[in-house]
């Protein structure tokens, strides 16, 4: 994972629980990094350990940690200078989800070690969309749910999300009265 991801984890924990809690999580995860560098790639294992340790220290199930992280990711990247990039993604939730895969594909050009997830948006009807999510990484589906929540806040569009694991990928059914 790129340092930006780990920085977002730090930011989430520190802003909600304080520096001491972060230090405790970092020690438990045996992560000996003081400052993550945004554009540097770190082992995935480190991010997983941080999530596991956060779950133990905060006494929250790991999937809830990932969900909270996904939600925070939208907020965090906007404040870290990626606001214009998010703006380029579209002005409505639907536009943004349509561009989500292109966004990741284009970003991959500048982050050579990135293994970006792949997304496919399938419109179902004027209140329902299906988001397919493919990733080489395991167990990050809860993060996508958080991500959708964060986008729902960003575009001020209330949504209802349900998740299903399919053969080799995940599917999220997004319902809203405001997506047509």
């Amino acid at each position: 994972m790129y340092g930006l991801v780990n920085k977002a984890v730090v930011d989430l924990v520190v802003s909600k629980f304080g520096q001491d809690t972060w230090n405790e999580i970092k020690n438990k995860a045996e992560v000996d990094v003081d400052v993550f560098v945004s554009m540097d790639a770190y082992p995935d294992d480190m991010t997983y350990r941080l999530v596991g340790a956060a779950s133990e220290v905060l006494k929250i199930p790991p999937e809830k940690v990932l969900e909270a992280f996904g939600e925070h990711w939208v907020l965090y990247t906007a404040q870290e200078g990626y606001g214009p990039m998010l703006d380029a993604g579209g002005t409505t939730l639907r536009e943004f989800l349509e561009n989500l895969d292109a966004l990741h594909a284009r970003v991959a050009l500048t982050m050579p070690e990135l293994r970006p997830p792949r997304f496919r948006l399938v419109p179902v009807d004027d209140k329902t969309m299906l988001l397919e999510y493919h990733s080489t990484r395991q167990g990050l589906a809860p993060m996508v749910i958080g991500l959708l929540r964060g986008l729902s806040i960003r575009f001020n569009t209330p949504i209802d999300v349900s998740h299903a694991s399919r053969d080799g990928h995940d599917e999220f059914t997004i319902r809203s009265s405001q997506i047509s």
């Binding site: 560098v37 945004s38 554009m39 990626y82 214009p84 380029a88 579209g90 966004l103 970003v107 500048t110």
Partner: protein, 413 residues
């Protein structure tokens, strides 16, 4: 080659920012996104909506444009901020402009009302923008790290300065305490049978350790003068020991031999300094017994200057011997010297703070200047002589780098 032809619809999606116009400037085809941004373009005159920024082509006419077949064209919208960058291609009956918005920052997209989906998938403008964006992020990261480092450094430096300040403060306190010890034990009055006496000691902050004492006895007095090596509390304590040991010996036997007294004081100091305090300080020290017109002294320190009333000249008398506190027994190296005084003879005792005072050129005050001065002033009241010496030394050296001590004695018979 048969090839394919793009229908205007397909062309509009594949090149969302293209413009095709006839020789008269009439626009006949516009890309889908550009049409959204400039609704008046289609069917209008291209020169009404766009101006050519690059190259230098005036006016907006096919005949002029065709002279620049392999040139980057930059078009500027006349009523907005949109710039397009691309190329002009001459067709049979029209000119085709193929290009994309010219943007250097992602944030411009929003201002232009554009988003990712408006660009053709094959268009690399957005990739460039993302590249710039990620470089800016990396740069911002570096800047933040650098500023964190300078903040850390500033903290460390101020902590270091604070530690230094505290250490200096502690040292200054210790020196003040040492000075207090040193001064507190000096004799308050100088009165003895058969002699006039005057003395003064000035203390320096940096180096110190001067000592003098006058102990009156029947028919005279004992005078001690010396200098403890080093400075600070240790020197002060050693000086106290010298004073106490001498005072004890004199109280026990006012007519004791100075040589024996110096030998015993050394034994006490050697034991205390080396074996108890575990230091290697030492003391230069002369001890004089004055009875009637005779002075008997022992111990190594500065010369004893005797200003003879008869010759009006200074007679410098050496003080042979060795330092105190360096070896367990100095009896072998300690001798007694006898000086017999005539009435009005003046005896001058001093420490190196007087003779080694340096002027701005680094020149020492010296024993000769001191001798000449006391010769000149020898008949004055004894306190005036003392004050004149200090005034002269202060004129010589405004900086007080070492303790300076002067003890004067004049045979009053």
């Amino acid at each position: 080659m048969t090839g394919i032809a793009l229908s205007p619809e397909l062309m509009g999606g594949t090149f969302p920012f293209h413009i095709a116009f006839r020789p008269d400037g009439r626009v006949v085809q516009v890309g889908a996104v550009l049409q959204r941004l400039c609704p008046s373009l289609d069917g209008g005159l291209i020169s009404d909506v766009f101006a050519i920024v690059r190259p230098q082509v005036m006016p907006f006419e096919i005949e002029a444009i065709r002279l620049h077949p392999r040139t980057v064209f930059v078009l500027q919208m006349k009523t907005g901020t949109l710039k397009l960058k691309g190329q002009m291609m001459l067709l049979d009956d029209a000119m085709l402009f193929l290009g994309s918005p010219w943007i250097t920052e992602l944030s411009e997209l929003k201002a232009l009302g554009l988003q990712l989906g408006d660009f053709a998938v094959h268009d690399q403008v957005v990739d460039c923008l993302f590249l710039i964006q990620s470089q800016q992020t990396a740069l911002a990261d570096v800047r933040r790290l650098a500023s964190q480092q300078s903040v850390k450094l500033a903290h460390q430096q101020s902590a270091l300065l604070e530690a230094e300040r505290l250490a200096r403060e502690r040292l200054e306190k210790e020196l003040a305490l040492a000075r207090q010890i040193q001064i507190s034990i000096l004799p308050r009055t100088l009165v003895a049978d058969g002699v006039e006496l005057a003395a003064c000691m000035t203390t320096a902050t940096e180096v110190g350790g001067d000592y003098y004492d006058v102990l009156p006895i029947h028919g005279g007095c004992w005078i001690g003068i010396g200098d403890v090596s080093g400075h600070g509390v240790t020197s002060g304590l050693i000086m106290l020991m010298v004073q106490s040991a001498v005072a004890g010996l004199v109280a026990r036997d006012p007519n004791a031999s100075p040589r024996e007294a110096v030998t015993i004081v050394n034994r006490v100091l050697f034991e205390n300094i080396r074996h108890r305090m575990l230091k290697d300080d030492f003391v230069t020290f002369s001890l004089l017994r004055v009875t009637g017109r005779r002075i008997v002294f022992a111990g190594a320190h500065e010369h004893v200057l005797v200003v003879r009333n008869g010759s009006k000249r200074v007679e410098p008398i050496a003080t042979p011997g060795t330092w105190l506190g360096v070896m367990p027994d100095i009896a072998r190296f300690t001798t007694e010297t006898i000086v017999d005084l005539e009435p009005k003879d003046l005896v001058v005792l001093y420490t190196d703070g007087i003779t080694e005072a340096r002027n701005d050129h680094g020149e020492q005050y010296g024993i000769d200047r001191l001798s000449a001065l006391v010769e000149r002033h020898r008949e004055e009241p004894i306190e005036d002589i003392r004050d004149n010496v200090f005034a002269d030394v202060t004129r010589w050296s405004s900086r007080r780098e070492d303790d300076a001590t002067l003890v004067l004695l004049r045979q009053s018979n």
